[in-house]
Every structure is written in C-alpha cells, then in structure tokens.
C-alpha cells in the first residue's frame, strides 16, 4: 500500500487550474463530509489518478465557504472526534451544475480538436 502510494506520485495527474473547486463541489454533492474524507473520496473515485495536494484543499474549502457555495459545521466524526463538516448550499449546487456543464463542453471541445487529423 505504501509502495503503491509512492509510485502513484509519478503517475499522478496535475490538476488543471480551477478544477479543484469543481471536484470539491462534486464530492460534496453526495452528502456532507469533512476535509480528509473529501480528499480520500476524490482520490478513490478517480482510481487514485487524481491526487489532491492536501495542503491546498483547505484554502480551497475556505474560499468556497466565503463564496457561500458550501457551509461548514462542526460535528462528531465516525470515530467520535470533533470534525468540521462541509455541506453544499443551494447556490453551491447551482454552481456545481454550471461548472460541470462548462467542464463537459470544454473537454468535448478539446477532444474534438485532438481528434483532428
């Protein structure tokens, strides 16, 4: 497990600029989570291809909170410790839809260009 982790650093993809917000919003769309769980969820779901630099996760969470797209609440974690849970707000959900649509259009367009011969 440890070895695999270290190897995966080489294979890990750098996150394109601005996609971290989208990933966080998407991760939270399934339900409230704390920071570590968000990072794990993205890691797992992307089949370990996307490694979020954990240090940059928290500034991003706080920025989204400031925008009012997510809100935070302290609660008990699964192992009964105090953790800060983030939850998508109504406008956060709207933002997620917009950004997801944008992303789909962008990738489709890029794919189209790349298929050009």
């Amino acid at each position: 497990m440890a070895d695999k982790n270290e190897r995966s650093i080489d294979e890990k993809l750098d996150l394109p600029q601005g996609t971290l917000d989208l990933l966080i919003l998407k991760a939270l769309s399934l339900g409230p989570q704390h920071g570590w769980a968000i990072s794990e969820r993205i890691h797992d779901v992307s089949r370990a291809t996307l490694q979020i630099p954990q240090g940059s996760l928290y500034p991003a969470l706080h920025r989204l909170e400031r925008h009012g797209w997510i809100r935070a609440e302290w609660g008990a974690s699964d192992n009964n410790r105090r953790a800060k849970y983030y939850e998508l707000t109504k406008i956060g959900r709207k933002q997620l839809d917009t950004e997801a649509a944008d992303w789909a259009r962008l990738t489709a367009a890029v794919a189209l260009v790349l298929r050009m011969t």
Binding site: N5, H34, S39, G55, Y58, E65, R66, G68, R81, I91
Partner: protein, 910 residues
C-alpha cells in the same frame, strides 16, 4: 448575487473580529486531517513515526497551508496593517520626547499655516455666498464703504444722482444697486430712547436683494415701489444673525417697529442664514431702502445732491456682456453724468484726475471690503512668513527623523538579517510616519481654529469686531498636511533606505565599529540645520526691520503732546442742539472738563484729531501767485479757545485763540509752519489775511506742524485753523480735546465720563486717549509686526531645536572618539569646544545664506516701512546676534557631554 456578497462580508467580518476563534478552528481542522491520515497509514502497516512522516509529506507545509487559508479570508493586508500599527505605537511610546516633538512641531506648523491662509481666503479669495458671484461687477473703489465727501464729485464713490444715471442709462447690467454708509445709527428696539444700540446698518437702493439674488428667509425683501418716494417706505430687512442675536429668532419679528435715529421703521423681512451682506469683514445687521436716507442718515441731504459722494455700486452683468464692455459703458455714463453738472476749474481738475486715476469698474465676486484694503498686504506678507515657517518645520522634522533613522540603523539591519523584506520594512516605517502625521493633524486643527480667532482679535482695532468666516479652510489644511506628510514620509523612510543600501554583512560590521565612524556621515542633517538657520535669519531680518519701523511710527514727532491728551467725540449731530445752543453746549463741555483735577486745558474742534474727518478748500493769499490750482489747496478746521494748549502744540509766533475770538465777526485764524512757508516765505504772517470761501481771516498765530491725518506717512499739509464762528442751524458733531498734566491720560477717562454724562445724559459721546487713536491708524503695521515677530520667534525656536538634536546625536555617536581623545590626554572641555565650534560653523553658514535672502525679502515690506532703511544696521546686527547666541546655547547644552566622556564609558558603548 446578494447572498454571495453577504456570505463574503460575514466571512471577512468574522475572520477579523473573532480572529482567535477562526485561527483555533483552522488548527483543529488541520490537526484532525493529519491524525486521520496517520491512522490510515498505521492501519496499513506503517510504524507510528513513519506514518507521521509520510502524512506530513503528503500534506505539504502545514504553516504554508495555514498562510494560504488566511489569505483566502481576504483580511491578510488589514491584519498586517493592524500589527504594524500596534508595533508603531509601541515604538513611538518608547521615545516620548521624539514623538511629542515631532507632533507638536508639525501640528503648530500646519496649524499656523492653515490659520493664516484661512484669513487670506476669507478676506481675499472667497466669493460672496450668492448665486453666480462671477457675474457681479463693482463700480468705484470697493474699499470705500464708509467714505463720504461733500464737494466736487469724486469717482471712488458716487452721489445718488450719478447712481440714478448709471442705473437708468446702462445696457450692460441686468440690474444694479447702490450701497451707502448711513453714519452711526442709534437704534431703539423697545421704543425706549435711552436704551439705544448700535447695530451696523446700510442704506441700499431697491435692487440690492434682486441683484445679489438673495431671497428672504422670512417675510420679504424690498419692492421696486420702495425705491421711488423719499421717506415713503419706513421698512427694513434684518440679517439672520441679528435676528437670532437680538430677537432670539422670534418669527413675530415681522411687522415689528424699531426706532432708527428716532424714525419708526418696521421690519418686513429676515435675510437667509450665512448672508452677511456685500461687505467682507463687516456683518451688516439692518438694510433700509435708500429713499429713507433723509430720515435716518445724519449729515447733509443726499438724494438730490450731486456734491455728496457716498455710494459704492454693484451690478450684475447681462448674459453675454463682458467686464470690458461693462467698464467702457459705465465709465462713459459716469463721466458724462458728472461732467454735465460741473464747469470751470472743477471741470478741468476732474478731467485731470480722471486721466491719472480711471474709474474703477471691476469684478465684484468678492464683494466690497475696507478691511481687505487695510490688511490685505499685511496678510499676504504674513502668508509668506508662515510659509517660511512651514519650510523650517519640514526641515526640522526631517532632521529629527534622520537623527532617529541613524539611531535605528542597527535595528533595521538586524531585522533584514532575520529575513524581513525591504517592502515590509518600508511598510512598517510608513505606518509609523502616518501615525505621527495623524497625531500632528489633530494638534493642527486646534492650533488653526485658535490661531484664526487670535489673528482676528489682534487685527480688530475698534469696538466692532471684524466679522470673517474663520472656519479652518479645509483645502489649505489638506494641502499643508499633504506637504508635511510627504516630508515626514520621505524622511521616515530613510532608515529603510539606509539599511537596505548596503548588504547586511557590511552594515552589521559598520555598526559594530563606531570609532570615528560617525564623522561626516550626518551630512544631510547638517544641511537641513543650515537651511533652518537661513530661513530663520530671513524672518529675523524682516521682523527686526518691522519692529524698528514700528518704533519710529509710534514715536514720530507729531507736533502735539500725544501722551497727555484725551479726545472726546460728542455726537451732537443726532440731537437737537443747533446754532447758539450748540455753541453753548460746546463751551459747557470744555468748561466742565477743565474743572476736573489734573486737567490743565480743554477745548473743542469740529474735525477732531486722528478722527478720520477733514475739510479742504482753496485759499487766496494777497501777494502769492499760484502756479497750479493744487497750490491753493489747504485743510482747515474750526477750533475753540485755548485749542493749541489743549493738544500740546507749539505756537511759533503769535498767540493761542482766546474766548473773545470765538463768536466775534473778526474772523481770527492761525496757520501751520508749512502753510506759512508756502504762502509768506520770509515775511511775517502775523496780522496778514488769507481768504477762504470769500471770508478773510486775520492770522493771529503760526503753529508748529501738527499731523492730524490718518496716514502718518503723508507729506505735511498746509493747514488753516479758524477761531469758531457761531454754528449754523445744521446739526453737527464736535470733538473735545482735554490736556492732562502730570498723570497718565487714561486716568481721567472715567472722571471725565462721569462729569460729561451729568451735563446732558441724552448726548452720546465716546472718550479715547489720543495715543490709542494714533495706534489704531497704524493697525496694519502693528498686526504685521506682531505676526512677523511671532513667526520669527517660532522659527528661531525650531531651528534651535534642530541644532540641539543634531548636536546631541553626533555627540552621542562620537562617544568613543571623545573617550579616546581623553585617554590620549586631551584636556577636559576640549571635546565640548570641538562640538560647539562645529555647531557654530553650521549656524554661521546659515546666517551667510539667510542674510542676503532677508535683504532681498525686505522689498516685500518696503511700502509698510517707515523711517528705516532696508540696510538697518542695528536691527541686522541684533538678528545676527540673536541667532548666534541661540545656536551657541542650543549646541552647548548637548556638547557638555562631549567634554566629560571618560575612556571607560567610551569602551562600554562598544
């Protein structure tokens, strides 16, 4: 959108206000994350230590993450600023003397500048508070708001018939009005004739309010009909300030009847707040229509009298008409209006006068003002003086800041060595300077407000205060603050620049090697002190000259006993004393005064001395052939028996007037020496005759010239005194001259007041010692002298402070050098002499720069100087001596230390 903004604001506010909570939560959150990561790694088989290492590695820098998270809050800049301010406050508190000195120097400098400029603005620059003041145009000399002249027409101010011609014939003004001084008013508000007050009133023609476009706050202003019938409309509009002051803002004031010079006048309106009339420096209380002049103005009839000039005129330009067009047309109408009614020699003289002094038609945006004319140049010179003081203030604060910068060099170097960036240091120092400037601004506001009031109080000579809006002028306050702030900031940055100029290692080494190190490094500070000395020298030269000139003015030989004469102005013009009864009351007043203990002579005069009044005429003298008409002009006065003794004049030949001269038809006269010389040369004038207005006067005496005019600088005037003749049936005032022997003149003022009141309580009079009257005539010079001396002293004190600071600093820096000198056998005191010698060189350099500047600057004050040449050695040497002496004291105090440094002490400072 709104929710996002709100969320953003709430977030930032919380970060700012509950900073501790937010930080703790951030810590908790990050710790939780790391612990979960470690747990995960441990579960997958890593050792605890290995897990911790890998978790941290995966996370990246925790502090970095925190810093990023803080940045996201959007309050990082503000937090740094608050931290800087707290630090700056701490730094400033540890050096209270430095802080206090900078704050006070800056505060006084900015404040004084604002105070003087506030006056400059109020008096010279500000426009009348009426709509479109730029359309207003004045005709005549705007300073002549109290002038009146009976005789051949003048053009500085006009008669009512001339105004009517201008009003009816011009096509350049949409409307025009005339404003005249109604002489003093006795106003009785309650109908009680004994409780009279003296508000300031003006007689204005019907267009006054419509030209100025001022609407009534209450009631109405004047109607066109009120400008038609003499004595027809006894109405008045009062000012808002008078309404508040006298009627406590009572709305029932409309329709109320007051007595003005015993004429009932009813109040029909109140002018809006802030409108104090068209005369700057004088707040008008009551306006009465011009047509009421016959009822309320003492003196000769004016409405149909082309000989009585007493009006200044203001018009509003029609749209599209330029000032030049207006000037051309108004000049033509006025010239034509005057010339049509004069002939012969009067006409020739009028044309001659007109060639040398054209009729003034100029912008009236700033209104009329006699105060402006009287004090204008003094205030501009004061502005220059205070500007110099501000320069000294800047130089001084720079010196202080540089001294401080040098002392903090080590602190800056160490902080840079510890990794503080240059921009952080700059920001830190800027914060410190800004706090200093802020404190100084607070002091300055107080100084400016108090300063303006003090200046006006100093400038006020009579009983009526000069009414000026003295709210500190915000623009100049901002400007001065900006200039001084810039200088504080620039100088305040010096430590950062100094510290970052060299690389850290060299700087640290330089600071640890102090021996001889300080010498010559403080060039900037010395240069600033030289500049301060030079500017101070400039002010001292000017101040010295003004003081000397003032002394000459106040002690100039006037030909009379100025210290022992009391003048009484008796306002019989508004009583029913005329003819023989007036002659009787004049004698009675003089007799009563003469009975007082200490009084050895008393007599009366129609014009008075230094009263501002004068009469002139043309004389014919047998045997004298005039070359020009002006050679026939003399001033004359009617005086009572014993008059020359009463004013302490010297009779060169002949005798004083006696009681038998008065009232007889022999027409006895006396002439002054200037007149005797002009008309009789070497012949003896006694017994000869002069003719004035077809009356022959036999000369009984020649008296030494007595200066009786307002302007002490005027050339001697030919003067004729006539022994009083029986008065006509026209009421008029007179003045009493009372001579006091063997005691101060002021001591008889009270007894005299009691004695005269007992004669007839209904006759109003005012008593003034002659010397006080004379001083009032030189008010401008007095104010100017006081201000220049004050600013000179201020600059001197600042310069001394600057020299003290620099000397103290360099002495402290050279402790090691002085210790070494002592160790090498220098005698005690040698160090002190060395330091004082250096300071003296700085001062002398300043004097050499400042002296020529000062001499150049005397050009500015040349026309207010009297009896002193610009190269006045006594005042120049005193200025130099004062500066040198002050410099020696200022440097000797801190230099004493230099002579007492022991080698041990020097070693300890290393």
């Amino acid at each position: 959108m709104f929710t996002e903004l709100w969320s953003d604001l709430r977030h930032r506010l919380r970060s700012l206000v509950r900073r501790g909570d937010v930080e703790r939560e951030l810590d908790d959150e990050l710790r939780f994350h790391l612990e979960r990561e470690i747990e995960k790694l441990v579960q997958s088989g890593a050792s605890r230590t290995e897990a911790e290492r890998r978790a941290r590695l995966a996370f990246g820098g925790v502090e970095r993450a925190k810093e990023d998270a803080r940045d996201v809050r959007g309050t990082a800049r503000l937090e740094t600023l608050l931290r800087d301010m707290r630090y700056a406050a701490r730094v400033l508190r540890t050096r209270p003397t430095f802080t206090l000195a900078v704050v006070l120097i800056l505060g006084i400098g900015i404040g004084a500048n604002s105070a003087v400029f506030t006056l400059v603005d109020a008096l010279l620059l500000r426009t009348l508070p009426v709509p479109h003041p730029e359309q207003l145009v004045t005709v005549g000399d705007p300073a002549d708001v109290h002038s009146a002249w009976t005789g051949s027409p003048v053009t500085e101010y006009t008669s009512y018939p001339v105004f009517v011609d201008i009003r009816d014939q011009n096509t350049v003004f949409s409307d025009v009005y005339a404003n005249g001084y109604p002489n003093d008013w006795d106003v009785s508000v309650n109908g009680d004739a004994n409780a009279v007050e003296h508000p300031l009133g003006r007689l204005v023609s019907g267009g006054f309010f419509s030209v100025l476009e001022v609407r009534a706050y209450l009631g109405r202003t004047f109607t066109a009909a009120e400008d038609a019938t003499p004595r027809g409309d006894p109405v008045a509009v009062i000012s808002y300030a008078y309404w508040q002051r006298r009627f406590a803002g009572d709305r029932g004031v409309l329709g109320r009847v007051i007595q003005i010079n015993h004429t009932p006048i009813s109040i029909v309106g109140v002018a809006p707040a802030g409108f104090t009339g068209d005369i700057v420096g004088e707040s008008t209380d009551i306006w009465v229509p011009m047509m009421m002049a016959p009822a309320v103005r003492a003196g000769p009839p004016v409405l149909d009298n082309r000989e009585a000039s007493w009006l200044v005129i203001m018009g509003r330009l029609r749209p599209g008409v330029t000032l030049t067009q207006a000037r051309k047309q108004i000049t033509a109408i006025e010239t034509q209006s005057i010339r049509a009614h004069i002939d012969g020699r009067t006409l020739t003289e009028f044309d001659e006068d007109l060639r040398s002094t054209p009729i003034l038609v100029q912008s009236g945006a700033a209104g009329f003002s006699s105060v402006r004319d009287f004090y204008g140049s003094a205030i501009l010179i004061a502005m220059a003086a205070v500007g110099l003081v501000v320069l000294v203030v800047c130089a001084n604060v720079c010196t202080l800041m540089l001294t401080r910068a040098a002392a903090r060099g080590r602190e800056m170097t160490v902080r840079m060595a510890l990794g503080a960036g240059r921009s952080r240091l700059v920001q830190q120092l800027l914060t410190e300077s800004a706090i200093l400037a802020l404190l100084a601004a607070l002091v300055a506001i107080g100084v400016a407000a108090a300063g303006s009031r003090l200046l006006i109080a100093t400038a006020t000579l009579g009983d009526a205060p000069i009414a000026l809006d003295t709210h500190p002028d915000l623009r100049v306050f901002a400007f001065t603050s900006a200039v001084t702030l810039a200088c504080v900031l620039l100088c305040g940055l010096a430590p950062a620049i100094r510290a970052t100029r060299n690389d850290v290692a060299t700087a640290l080494r330089a600071h640890s090697r102090n021996l001889f190190g300080a010498r010559g490094r403080f060039g900037a500070g010395r240069a600033l002190v030289v500049a301060q000395m030079a500017l101070t020298m400039l002010l001292l030269v000017g101040g010295g000259l003004l003081v000397r000139s003032m002394q000459q003015l106040l002690h100039v030989e006037l030909g009379m006993d100025r210290d022992h004469v009391v003048m009484v102005h008796v306002a019989t013009a508004r009583t029913n004393y005329v003819g023989a009864r007036l002659a009787a009351v004049r004698s009675a007043f003089a007799d009563r005064a003469r009975q007082l203990p200490g009084v050895d002579a008393a007599s009366f005069t129609l014009e008075g001395i230094f009263s501002g009044g004068a009469s002139g005429g043309h004389v014919d003298v047998p045997g004298f052939v005039p070359q020009a008409d002006s050679e026939r002009q003399v001033q004359y006065d009617e005086v009572g028996p014993g008059f020359f003794k009463a004013i302490g004049a010297t009779i060169v030949r002949g005798r004083d007037f006696s009681a038998s001269d008065a009232g007889n038809r022999a027409n006895i006269g006396a002439i002054n020496e200037t007149m005797a010389k002009a008309y009789f040369r070497d012949r003896d004038p006694i017994g000869r005759t002069v003719t004035l207005d077809s009356v022959n006067y036999t000369i009984a005496a020649v008296v030494r010239d007595v200066e009786e005019v307002r302007d002490l600088r005027a050339k001697p005037i030919r003067r004729l005194y006539m022994a009083t003749i029986p008065p006509s049936d026209r009421p008029r005032t007179f003045e009493l001259a009372v001579h006091v022997a063997g005691r101060p003149a002021a001591s008889v003022v009270e007894p005299l007041r009691r004695a005269l009141s007992s004669l007839d309580p209904t006759v109003p009079f005012t008593i003034t010692p002659l010397d006080e009257r004379i001083r009032r005539t030189v008010g401008e010079e007095l104010l100017l002298t006081k201000m220049t001396v004050f600013f000179g002293a201020l600059a001197l004190a600042l310069a001394a402070l600057g020299l003290y600071g620099v000397t103290a600093y360099s002495t402290a820096q050279r402790t090691a050098e002085f210790g070494l000198r002592t160790a090498l056998g220098a005698e005690p005191g040698a160090g002190t002499r060395l330091v004082v010698g250096e300071a003296a060189r700085v001062a002398i350099l300043g004097i050499f720069v400042g002296l020529p500047l000062g001499l150049l600057a005397t050009r500015l004050i040349r026309n207010v100087m009297f009896g002193v040449s610009p190269l006045d050695w006594p005042s120049l040497s005193i200025a130099v001596a004062v500066l040198v002496f002050t410099s020696l004291i200022a440097s000797w105090l801190p230099a004493r230390r230099a002579g007492r440094v022991s080698p041990i002490e020097a070693l300890r400072t290393e």
